[in-house]
């Protein structure tokens, strides 16, 4: 079953985003942990020229991360266009981004290239197709490190072979309330999946948002990995969460509605908001929005989840906010957005 969520985004009651990404390295260049300053600069120059020349998207922007301010780099992290690791690394590094922000190609992250395509809702097939098209274009211009037995080579043994990683970002508040998350985690482990928080590797899960990805990249074709993800893993996650929501609605609907409405009231009236508190409350309201308990679209909540992050607030305020100002400004943004609904 494929439910069209609000604004036509498939299954967005549970799925925030789906993402496909490839790890690629240039042949005859050392990987980044062994590369000198000049060698990593050379990878940058080679990649930059190709990324800007190839018709990867309608409009591709290139950013040299060394030249960006820390605030700009944090903005990219908050939008999931680069990783925290990439933002904080001391190497020469850059990123190519399509102007619609669906494609981003990190240069000199952990591998020479990390190519990703991300979409809202459950659209893994679409992201996979786009990713394969981009990879084919790049392969005409770049000589990738490839091995007869181990396929595309990577700095890390966990990425060799296809170098492909699929991720789905899911909102699982009902499974949390019904205490079934541990069961999901166990099932994920058996299927060789890894479960991470909102900002990927090493991040905490905030607001019951989890990122689920495949761990095995070798010994199966890209299509096999993708099919399993699209046809069984994502549907299973959606089913678990939806059944938990149904159970809650039947058994405890008043308690559930109470939690949602309290969260909504706090967001509509708070004068100071910390980022974790905002995410936790937005998570409950998101559940309310997908059950039709509050008059607010899911997409609005998903946008707020990004807008309440520190760098986004500072950018919108167009000044460096003090800690207290940040709390106040966050509360203001949330109140204004929800009152416009």
């Amino acid at each position: 079953m494929n439910i069209d969520g609000d604004n036509g985004i498939p299954d967005n009651d549970v799925v925030l985003t789906t993402r496909s990404r490839l790890a690629r390295n240039l042949a005859d260049h050392p990987f980044l942990n062994r590369a000198s300053d000049m060698q990593s600069a050379l990878v940058m120059q080679t990649a930059q020229r190709v990324l800007l020349d190839a018709p990867l998207s309608e409009k591709t922007l290139w950013m040299d991360l060394d030249e960006l301010t820390p605030l700009d780099r944090s903005l990219l992290v908050e939008r999931h266009l680069i990783s925290r690791h990439h933002s904080e690394s001391s190497l020469h590094r850059g990123v190519a981004i399509s102007s619609d922000e669906h494609m981003s190609i990190m240069v000199n992250e952990e591998d020479h290239l990390r190519i990703q395509v991300i979409q809202r809702g459950s659209r893994l097939d679409e992201t996979f197709e786009q990713l394969m098209r981009i990879d084919a274009l790049l392969e005409q211009q770049l000589d990738y490190a490839f091995h007869d037995q181990w396929g595309y080579l990577s700095v890390c043994p966990t990425n060799v072979g296809t170098g492909i990683r699929f991720s789905v970002m899911v909102h699982l508040p009902a499974l949390r309330i019904t205490n079934e998350l541990a069961k999901v985690q166990r099932a994920a482990k058996e299927l060789h999946l890894v479960v991470r928080g909102y900002y990927g590797e090493g991040s905490e899960s905030t607001g019951q948002i989890y990122q689920v990805s495949n761990q095995v990249t070798l010994g199966r074709t890209e299509e096999e990995i993708q099919e399993e993800f699209s046809k069984s893993i994502i549907p299973a996650l959606i089913d678990y969460e939806r059944s938990a929501r149904n159970v809650l609605m039947k058994k405890n609907s008043m308690l559930l509605d109470d939690r949602i409405q309290r969260a909504y009231s706090v967001l509509c009236s708070a004068r100071l908001l910390k980022v974790d508190e905002a995410m936790k409350l937005l998570s409950r309201v998101r559940l309310g929005a997908s059950l039709g308990h509050v008059d607010c679209s899911i997409q609005t909540i998903d946008e707020l989840l990004v807008q309440v992050q520190p760098a986004h607030l500072n950018q919108q305020a167009q000044s460096t906010l003090s800690d207290n100002d940040e709390l106040e400004y966050r509360a203001l943004i949330v109140r204004n957005t929800l009152s416009q609904q």
């Binding site: 942990n33 062994r34 490190a145 091995h147 037995q149 890390c156 043994p157 070798l218 010994g219 199966r220």
Partner: protein, 173 residues
């Protein structure tokens, strides 16, 4: 003459001069074979020496990658591989590391690159400059290294300008 590694008589002898330093190698039959060297008479002596040196010097005991110099111990500690060449240099030990990381999978069956890419003018020039730079640094010619470094930095804009010119000459498109 005795073997460098034990008291038996040496049957393999070779002298080489490397970077102005003379190096002598003397080995008994057993140690020559252990170093992967066949007995004299079966192969030209030069080949023997190369093999011996490959077998004994720290760069070539198979403990360091000949391309990037990383050791397998370092790879194991960080779980990070040094370069594409490591995959052949440590083929066996890496194989088990990969199988472990990949839940038993050991061979790629997915896509393969569909054509060998021909290096662009930029890559060829950049590579040449890189080699010259390496040589300059090794020879401690730092002034020359600085010049080469500047050239390398400018290269990308130069090549870009060249290409723009060519496209302009075509009358645009």
């Amino acid at each position: 003459m005795k073997c460098d590694l034990c008291n038996k008589p040496a049957v393999v002898h070779e002298v080489s001069i490397n970077n102005g330093k003379k190096k002598e190698v003397h080995l008994c039959l057993e140690h020559a074979q252990a170093a992967g060297v066949a007995i004299p008479g079966q192969q030209p002596i030069n080949k023997l020496l190369t093999k011996f040196v490959i077998g004994q010097s720290p760069k070539s005991t198979g403990k360091e990658c000949p391309d990037c110099g990383i050791t397998f111990a370092q790879i194991k500690r960080s779980n990070l591989i040094g370069c594409p060449g490591c995959y052949n240099a440590f083929r066996d030990s890496l194989g088990s590391l990969i199988e472990q990381a990949q839940y038993g999978a050991s061979s790629h069956i997915g896509r393969v690159p569909n054509r060998k890419h021909t290096p662009s003018q930029f890559e060829l020039r950049a590579k040449k400059l890189m080699n010259e730079l390496d040589a300059a640094v090794t020879a401690e010619q730092y002034e020359r290294a600085a010049i080469l470094r500047d050239r390398l930095n400018k290269l990308s804009t130069e090549v870009q300008a060249d290409e723009d010119e060519v496209q302009g000459g075509d009358g645009g498109s």
